[in-house]
């Protein structure tokens, strides 16, 4: 396998594996936030703020891999 093919394959694999963790994380986060709002609707504003911050932090992990994939695609390959 030459370098270009390997780099493109690596970009795909990196992106695919990197979305597993944040996917689970965001799922747990959403389930927790829905339960919290269902139990205490008056606290929904605060729950939403914390939810969005957590969402951003979990999502960032996938985006690091996205940047790596972009580098692999457009710089290495």
């Amino acid at each position: 396998m030459d370098v270009h093919a390997a780099a493109r394959l690596a970009a795909g694999i990196a992106m695919g594996f990197a979305t597993i963790g944040p996917g689970i994380g965001i799922g747990l986060l959403t389930s927790g936030a829905t339960q919290a709002i269902a139990r205490q609707p008056e606290a929904s504003g605060e729950v939403r703020t914390v939810f969005i911050i957590g969402l951003a932090l979990a999502e960032a992990l996938a985006l690091y891999a996205f940047v790596v994939a972009i580098i692999l695609m457009f710089v290495v390959a």
Partner: protein, 265 residues
């Protein structure tokens, strides 16, 4: 690599070249630095002007019962001073306007790329360029560290990065070292993640739209309906992402500045 694949006939990769910067006004190089004005810079200036004009015109003639632009400006101001900076407290009051500016600037820069433009105008999204987002993140980083060092002094602020009080005496030096390394790296990862998050979200959306439109170029007109429908849905989602990313960027800036103001608590 872009050009090489372009000549091989991949129309999708060819279309991706649209994401690159294009120099509008060429200026001579100074050493290794190229000061040419690119379309990214132009659209950044344009959005800065839009933000300025919005608040300037709204503040020029203020009414008791707001109308038109004043309503928009007041919604943004209330959002920034009430919701976003709610947790920063009295001590961070002077950063209300930094956060307000960041929030409105990022919203306008995100949305400016979603407005369809003729190709002669070299349309682009400034926040799809990592240099822009890093610039914004460096401002937040500078404000955070300035607050930390000024408010607590060097000893106390760096001391807040060490092990918390109450750990066993024998383990203290080792724990101090580990805590210091983790916190020191954390301070640099905060702006890095801010920049990469904004950049990644905007670029990912653009790439998906580009790839879907590139499918039409590659495989013919038959794909116009499914790809077009997907692109319309994706564009609507992009509007949502533009707002949510501006919100996340500013609220995380608030959290970081707040953590420096109340360091060691």
């Amino acid at each position: 690599m872009l050009l090489e694949a372009g000549t091989q006939g991949s129309k999708i990769v060819e279309a991706m070249a649209e994401l690159n910067n294009k120099a509008v006004i060429h200026l001579p190089k100074v050493g290794p630095f190229d000061f040419s004005i690119t379309n990214t810079v132009l659209y950044m200036w344009l959005s800065a002007v839009i933000v300025f004009v919005l608040f300037f015109v709204a503040a020029k003639k203020m009414r008791k019962s707001p109308e038109g632009l004043q309503t928009t400006a007041e919604i943004l101001l209330n959002f920034a001073t009430g919701h976003l900076t709610g947790q920063i407290g009295e001590k961070g009051k002077k950063y209300y306007y930094l956060i307000l500016t960041l929030f409105s600037f990022i919203i306008v820069t995100n949305l400016i790329g979603l407005v369809p433009k003729p190709t002669q105008l070299l349309g682009t999204t400034p926040t799809a360029n990592i240099n822009v987002t890093f610039g914004l993140a460096i401002v937040v980083f500078a404000v955070t560290q300035y607050q930390g060092f000024k408010r607590h002094g060097f000893r106390k602020y760096v001391g807040s990065w060490l092990a918390p009080p109450g750990v066993p005496k024998a383990m203290k030096p080792a724990l101090n070292g580990i805590f210091f390394i983790v916190h020191f790296m954390g301070e640099f990862f905060k702006p890095l993640s801010l920049a990469v998050r904004l950049f990644g979200n905007i670029v990912a959306g653009h790439l998906i739209i580009l790839v879907m439109l590139g499918l039409i170029l590659q495989y013919g007109v038959a794909l116009i309906v499914p790809a077009g429908a997907f692109v319309i849905i994706m564009l609507l989602f992009e509007v949502f992402v533009a707002f949510i990313q501006a919100y996340i960027f500013s609220i995380l800036s608030v959290v970081y500045i707040e953590s420096a103001i109340y360091a060691g608590h």
